[in-house]
Symmetry: C2
Subunit: 300 residues, 2 copies
């Protein structure tokens, strides 16, 4: 089934305690779509500037990602993010953000993108996310991500958005901020009470939690000794999850749980190198092998 | 099979963001033995002062805990700990420590305690832990806990201890400190390389990790919305784990994994009230019911 993602496309500069990379391929829509591409075709909607290396577009296309919705805006520069990870590799500081093209990005979906079954609104302002929703007809499943910035400065708009989507994916500190509750189990259900049918709280190296009316569960991260760069882990998680749902063309509780596991595993590969470098070296059978290990790990 | 624990017996004063309790029953050996008592008989070795309420001893005995090794030392006061939890309920500050009787505690095992099959050395100085080891003959399984203090001030003694025990249980920050490695997967195996056949890293609300030569796995904490007081969670975890191993009288990989799960679940009850208050209201069938939920949560 078709899967759309609207989000950022970026050039990232990343410092870790061991190493660094400058101006590498990044952005929420990029990690999402690459992760989803192991499962299904993906249509990417985003914007870049004239400085965008076309090789990056070619790479995405080589994975079957439809980049018709990736607009190169004349006179603009690509969004850039620069960050530094603390020694624990779970927390990071943002050193620089240059919104560039994102300051003027106003996504207009190509005509044949307006009927979409599975839609992911990657992190962006709730106003912009709702503009996308206004253009989409009859999506079967709409899931969004958000961040602390929007919780703080577009609180009302975020609450409006929450009443219009099926699922929300956010990280633990954001869930605590949004609900003013430090207990993540209560926080998850409080976010759900704001509108979405299900909520996923990402906990970085500690995995992810799922909340729906009848279910509360935790999936631990796959334990890897090789954490090189956590950038994109959350978006890869969402991409793996939504990609699997789109592949299966359903989102009943059982399929959602399998999707959470696939999201977890794609993310566990993402963090094993910078940018998309680790994902570029794996194929679906590598995911399935790790899934076998993961299932064994969780059964007793 | 018989299970022995040597550790602290305390009167705790605990502040949480919501509430507080003063001078309630606590201590590593207390939480451990109460948790283990759902599975097996336990012999507790520890010391208290003249201020010790005998009702506490009666409570432990009511669970079948053998308190013959609990010495009341004349002229002494019981160990007291006072702590305060941060709003996240995972981190805490120690406000006051009065070692009292523990300053002079030099455990001498009763003669019929010297043959023990399963031994847990709760947190204490490695010197003291090794003194206990010297008195025990032919233990089938010896597991110890430790803490940052000993890693810092008795480093060499701790390394000696590690070569003499089968398993070590410690928390995530302690594992990082001991190995100077922030990645917990690597840290777990580095601790194992120091001697013990297996290592358990406790991650508080995020669960626990297990490391042996052939296995690495994570078990998430059971998600409870009712975290009232995390004090004793780690010791209850160890008590549930060792209690189950002693009940089954084996510690092959399969049994160890089940034991990790039971430890996780006993701890999930412990945190739902102050001191032993929540554990006092449950029986083995409550653990089994939560185990069914936990198994369902982890299967997909």
């Amino acid at each position: 089934m078709n899967l759309h993602v609207v989000g950022s496309v970026a050039l990232d500069s990343v410092e870790t305690p061991q190493s660094r990379r400058d101006n590498v391929l990044g952005g929420s829509a990029v990690f999402f779509s690459y992760a989803a591409s192991y499962f299904t075709g993906v249509r990417l909607v985003g914007a870049v500037g004239e400085d965008w290396p076309t090789a990056h577009t070619t790479l995405l296309q080589s994975r079957g990602i439809d980049t018709q919705g990736l607009v190169v805006m004349p006179g603009e520069k690509t969004f850039r993010w620069k960050g530094k990870y603390l020694p624990n590799m779970n927390d990071r500081e943002t050193l620089e953000v240059h919104l560039n093209v994102l300051e003027r990005f106003d996504p207009v979906l190509p005509a044949d993108y307006r009927h979409c079954q599975f839609l992911f609104l990657a992190n962006g302002s709730p106003t912009l996310q709702m503009k996308v929703l206004d253009q989409v007809h009859n999506a079967a499943l709409t899931v969004a991500d958000t961040m602390d910035l929007w919780i703080n400065i577009q609180h009302d708009e975020l609450l409006q958005l929450l009443r219009r989507i099926d699922g929300l994916v956010l990280n633990d500190s954001e869930a605590r901020l949004l609900t003013d509750d430090d207990n993540l189990v209560r926080a998850g259900h409080k976010v759900r009470a704001m509108g979405p049918k299900f909520v996923v709280i990402k906990k970085g190296e500690h995995g992810a939690m799922f909340f729906s009316q009848h279910e509360t569960y935790v999936m631990p991260a796959f334990p890897t000794p090789d954490v090189v760069d956590p950038t994109g882990a959350g978006d890869s998680f969402a991409g793996g999850m939504m990609g699997y749902l789109a592949e299966r063309n359903q989102f009943d509780p059982k399929t959602l749980k399998e999707a959470m596991a696939y999201g977890t595993l794609v993310a566990s590969f993402t963090v094993e190198d910078f940018s998309l470098d680790r994902l570029r070296r794996i194929e679906r059978p590598d995911l399935e092998r790790r899934m076998d290990e993961y299932r064994r790990m969780l059964s007793f």
